[in-house]
């Protein structure tokens, strides 16, 4: 990996990370601009396929930047892109965590934290809905999603059971 490429990855993804309020995936259009339009590292189709690959794999969604980095610079490119995307905001979150510990118990902080809770839960629901819409091509995936929702909501069994069942049904019918 050349020094020029290294700095393009560091500066490009570092800048994107700092505006990624609400999560790494919120800045997907920004990533598309950087990877496809500015640098021409891949075309739009390849961009979408790599995004789908990262979505299908377990782990933080933001790891998709690792696949973009891999494409342009192999393992060093992957690590550079992931660190550029995560390190600056991690330091910020750590600083905030320290501040929060020092202010613990303040009523106004408690109120702010409680006020953000419904947004956190609402966004989890939204991401589930978006995932569901992506797979809902006919009735079977919809039924799998509905059954899995009920299973996870109404029971305390491990969700890995429904993932396994989804894999088997997918293999058999999709």
């Amino acid at each position: 990996m050349s020094a020029a490429l290294f700095w393009q990855l560091v500066l490009g993804f570092g800048a994107i990370s700092l505006v990624s309020v609400g999560g790494g995936i919120a800045v997907l259009p920004e990533m598309h601009r950087l990877v496809v339009e500015v640098h021409g590292w891949m075309d739009s189709g390849d961009f979408a396929r790599r995004f789908a690959l990262a979505q299908a794999a377990p782990g933080p969604n933001v790891l998709v930047v690792g696949l973009f980095g891999w494409h342009v610079g192999g393992v060093p490119g992957m690590l550079t892109a992931v660190l550029a995307m995560t390190l600056p905001t991690s330091l910020l979150a750590f600083g905030f965590s320290r501040l929060r510990a020092r202010l613990a118990g303040r009523l106004w902080l408690k109120t702010i934290e409680r006020g953000l809770v419904p947004i956190a839960v609402g966004l989890i629901a939204a991401s589930g809905f978006i995932l569901a819409r992506g797979t809902a091509e006919w009735w079977l995936p919809v039924a799998i999603t509905a059954a899995s929702t009920l299973f996870v909501w109404r029971t305390d069994h491990s969700p890995l059971w429904v993932l396994g069942a989804g894999a088997v049904l997918g293999l058999a019918f999709l």
Binding site: V21, G22, G59, S90, E113, L116, V121, L169
Partner: protein, 186 residues
């Protein structure tokens, strides 16, 4: 249920690393639903309320919210070392896995069998995430004003696909206002 729950366990540094490693590796469809499942239900390190508050703060800060939450959880139990151990576990396993996938992808492109399995897993993972949101809402028992804020967040981000910064920063004042009203109410 009126009985007192047993005292909640405190993780060691190795617990943090390994548990977040597990969360990362089983985290289909995103980390947050799985982190709640493991941290709140299986390990009982955090309550639903504590987890949701941490995640809420992680969302208003820039950066991946699951990562921000992991840093705060790690810091809470083991300071700087914890704030490094939790994210290292969460990223380490999936990163190795993803490198393997990237190699396979480069070599084989898209095999139909693999696509079928992934479609089934994807549909089930979507249900897992939706079920988690339903479960959290049930356990947190939000007053109506806070419930309304949560519903608006769902509609804005899920149905209208508004960019997340607008959704998060635009709704935060309403959520905080609703929380302060709920606090003052008898």
């Amino acid at each position: 249920m009126t009985q007192d729950p047993p005292p909640r366990p405190v993780p060691t540094l190795a617990d943090l690393f390994l548990t977040y490693g597990k969360i990362g590796l089983i985290g289909f469809g995103g980390i947050n639903a799985w982190a709640r499942r493991v941290l709140v239900e299986e390990k009982r390190w955090l309550t639903d309320q504590e987890y949701a508050e941490t995640l809420g703060l992680g969302q208003v800060l820039p950066g991946p919210n699951a990562l921000n939450a992991a840093i705060m959880v790690g810091d809470r139990f083991h300071g700087t070392a914890g704030a490094i151990a939790a994210p290292a576990g969460m990223f380490g396993g999936p990163l190795i896995l993803l490198a393997g996938l990237a190699m396979l992808y480069d070599a084989y492109g898209e095999l139909p069998t693999m696509r079928a399995v992934l479609a089934g897993v994807g549909a089930a993972a979507a249900g897992m995430v939706l079920g988690t949101a339903a479960k959290m809402t049930e356990k947190l028992k939000p007053p109506p004003a806070l419930l309304a804020v949560g519903l608006v967040a769902f509609v804005a981000a899920g149905l209208f696909r508004l960019p997340l910064p607008y959704t998060v920063l635009g709704l935060a004042p309403f959520g905080i206002w609703a929380a302060s009203r709920a606090r003052r109410a008898p």
